[in-house]
C-alpha cells in the first residue's frame, strides 16, 4: 500500500472497516487507482488493486452458503459419476483395497492353519515365563490371582505406562474439547445454561436411585478384591465409571457434579498416578524383588495380602473410573 496517496489509504481503511463490520450498508465508493491529474507522465506507476464489488462479494457469500447447504446432494452426484466412470481412480482404489484385504486374509488364514490346535496343552505360548508366574507367583507376590500378580508386580512398570496412556488421552481430549468454554466469559456460560438436565422418565429415575449405590459398591468390591478374585483396578474402575455415567445420564449435570466433575477427575487422576509412582519407586529402590521391602506380603487369600498390589489396584481403579467419567462428561458437554 506504499504506492497509495493519503486519500487512497483512507478509502482502503473505510473499505476494510466495512468488510470487518459485515454490515448491510452499501460500501463506500472507491476508485482505484486514484486519479492524479498532474502526476501523469512522471514515471509514477500505481499497482492496480482489485477490490471485489459489492455484488460480486454477495454472490460469493451466496455461493458459499449454497455449497454449505447443498453439499451432501452435490457430493452424492460427484460420487455417483465417479462410480459410473470405469476409468476413475475411485474405482481403482476400491478394487485395489479389496484385493489387498483379500490377500491379507489369505496370508492370515494360512498362518492360522499352521498354528497349534486351539486349547492344546503343549502350545509354545505356555512357556517357562507363564510357568514361572504360576508356580512361584503366590510365594513371590502374595497374590492369589496370578494375572493381578503379573500385571501389578512383575510387570508393574507396564501397567504404569497404561495408566499414563489413559491420563494422556483424557488430557488431550480436555485440551481439544474444552476450548469452547475457554473462549467465553463465565456469564456467557450461565446465560446460555447448556446444563444437561437429565431424563424425565420416572421409572428410570427410581431404578437408578435404587441401583446406583450397589453399582458403585460392586465396583469397589472388584477393585479391593483384585488380588483374590477375577477383576482388579481396570475392570472395577470401569464399573465405577459406568455407574457415575449412569447417574449423570439420568439425574443430570447439576446433581452429578455434587459427587464429581472433570476438574476433580483431573486432580484424582494425577494423585492416583503420583501414589502409584511413589509406591513403585520404593519397590524398585529396595531391589524390585520384595526381599528388602518392609511391606509384608500377608497371609495368602486374606484381604490385606499381596504387599503393594492392594494399593496399586486402588490407584489404577481411581485413574480408570475418572477417565471413563471425564471422557463421557467432556463429550456430552461439547454436544449440548
Amino acid at each position: 500500500m506504499s504506492g497509495l496517496s493519503e486519500e487512497g489509504k483512507k478509502d482502503v481503511k473505510k473499505f476494510t472497516d466495512w468488510v470487518n463490520a459485515n454490515s448491510e450498508e452499501i460500501p463506500p465508493e472507491i476508485v482505484y487507482p486514484p486519479k492524479h491529474d498532474d502526476h501523469h507522465g512522471h514515471g509514477h506507476e500505481h499497482k492496480e488493486i482489485v477490490i471485489p464489488h459489492e455484488e460480486t462479494l454477495r454472490e460469493k457469500m451466496a455461493k458459499r452458503e449454497h455449497i454449505d447447504e447443498n453439499f451432501q446432494e452435490e457430493w452424492q452426484n460427484v460420487m455417483q459419476k465417479a462410480n459410473d466412470d470405469p476409468s476413475s481412480p475411485e474405482r481403482w482404489y476400491r478394487l485395489a483395497s479389496s484385493i489387498g484385504g483379500a490377500l491379507i486374509v489369505l496370508v492370515l488364514l494360512i498362518t492360522v492353519a499352521n498354528l497349534p490346535r486351539f486349547g492344546s496343552p503343549d502350545a509354545p505360548a505356555m512357556n517357562e515365563v507363564a510357568r514361572r508366574y504360576l508356580e512361584s507367583g503366590l510365594q513371590e507376590t502374595g497374590a492369589v490371582n496370578s494375572v493381578a500378580g503379573m500385571i501389578l508386580d512383575y510387570r508393574a512398570f507396564d501397567t504404569l505406562g497404561e495408566s499414563v496412556v489413559l491420563f494422556t488421552a483424557t488430557v488431550t481430549v480436555i485440551f481439544l474439547l474444552q476450548q469452547k468454554e475457554r473462549n467465553h466469559n463465565k456469564e456467557d456460560i450461565e446465560a446460555v445454561d447448556g446444563n444437561y438436565k437429565g431424563i424425565r422418565s420416572l421409572p428410570a429415575k427410581v431404578i437408578v436411585a435404587i441401583t446406583f449405590p450397589f453399582i458403585i459398591l460392586y465396583g469397589i468390591y472388584i477393585v479391593l478384591n483384585g488380588h483374590l478374585s477375577p477383576g482388579g483396578g481396570f475392570s472395577g474402575g470401569a464399573i465405577i465409571g459406568a455407574g457415575l455415567v449412569l447417574n449423570h445420564l439420568v439425574f443430570g449435570q447439576e446433581f452429578s457434579e455434587k459427587f464429581i466433575n472433570v476438574n476433580k477427575c483431573k486432580k484424582l487422576m494425577a494423585g492416583g498416578l503420583f501414589v502409584y509412582i511413589a509406591l513403585k519407586t520404593y519397590s524398585i529402590l529396595t531391589g524390585a524383588n520384595g526381599i528388602n521391602s518392609h511391606i509384608p506380603l500377608g497371609k495368602a487369600g486374606s484381604i490385606f495380602s499381596g504387599g503393594l498390589i492392594f494399593p496399586l489396584n486402588i490407584c489404577v481403579g481411581v485413574v480408570v473410573a475418572c477417565t471413563v467419567f471425564s471422557l463421557y462428561s467432556l463429550f456430552t458437554d461439547w454436544s449440548s
Binding site: 460469493k60 492370515l108 486349547g119 496370578s146
Partner: protein, 127 residues
C-alpha cells in the same frame, strides 16, 4: 493342514473380524465409520490373544487351595496383554473422536474426500 482351520475356529473368526475392520477403514469415507473399523480390528486382536491363552480342561489362573502346579491352570500372560490392548484402544478411540469433532466444527462434513472438493467449490485454498 486345512483341517486345522476347523479346530482353530476362534482364530479364524478373529481373522475374519480383522478383515472386516480393515476394509471398513479403507473403503468408508465417513470418519466415524473409520473409527468403528479400527475398533473392530482391536476386538479381533483381543479375541485372538484370548484364544491363544486358553488350554482345554484347565482352570482360570487363580491359585486354588495353594496348588501352585502350572499344569492345572491356563496361560495368564495373554490376559495381561489383552488388558493393555483394551486400555490403548479406549484411549485412541477417545482421542480420534475428539479430533473428529473439531474436524466437523471446521469443515461441517465428516467426509474425508469431500472436504477437499468442498474447499475447491468454495474457491478457497485447501489447507
Amino acid at each position: 493342514m486345512m483341517l486345522n482351520l476347523f479346530h482353530n475356529y476362534y482364530e479364524v473368526a478373529a481373522v475374519i473380524l480383522f478383515s472386516i475392520g480393515l476394509l471398513t477403514v479403507l473403503l468408508q469415507r465417513n470418519l466415524i465409520k473409520k473409527i468403528i473399523g479400527l475398533n473392530i480390528m482391536d476386538t479381533s486382536v483381543f479375541l485372538f490373544l484370548a484364544a491363544k491363552g486358553y488350554i482345554a480342561g484347565r482352570m482360570s489362573p487363580i491359585i486354588k487351595d495353594g496348588m501352585t502346579d502350572a499344569s492345572k491352570y491356563i496361560n495368564p500372560i495373554p490376559s495381561g496383554l489383552v488388558l493393555t490392548g483394551i486400555v490403548v484402544a479406549v484411549s485412541v478411540t477417545a482421542f480420534s473422536l475428539s479430533l473428529t469433532l473439531r474436524w466437523y466444527q471446521q469443515y461441517k462434513t465428516l467426509d474425508l474426500d469431500g472436504v477437499v472438493l468442498k474447499n475447491v467449490w468454495r474457491g478457497e485454498k485447501y489447507e
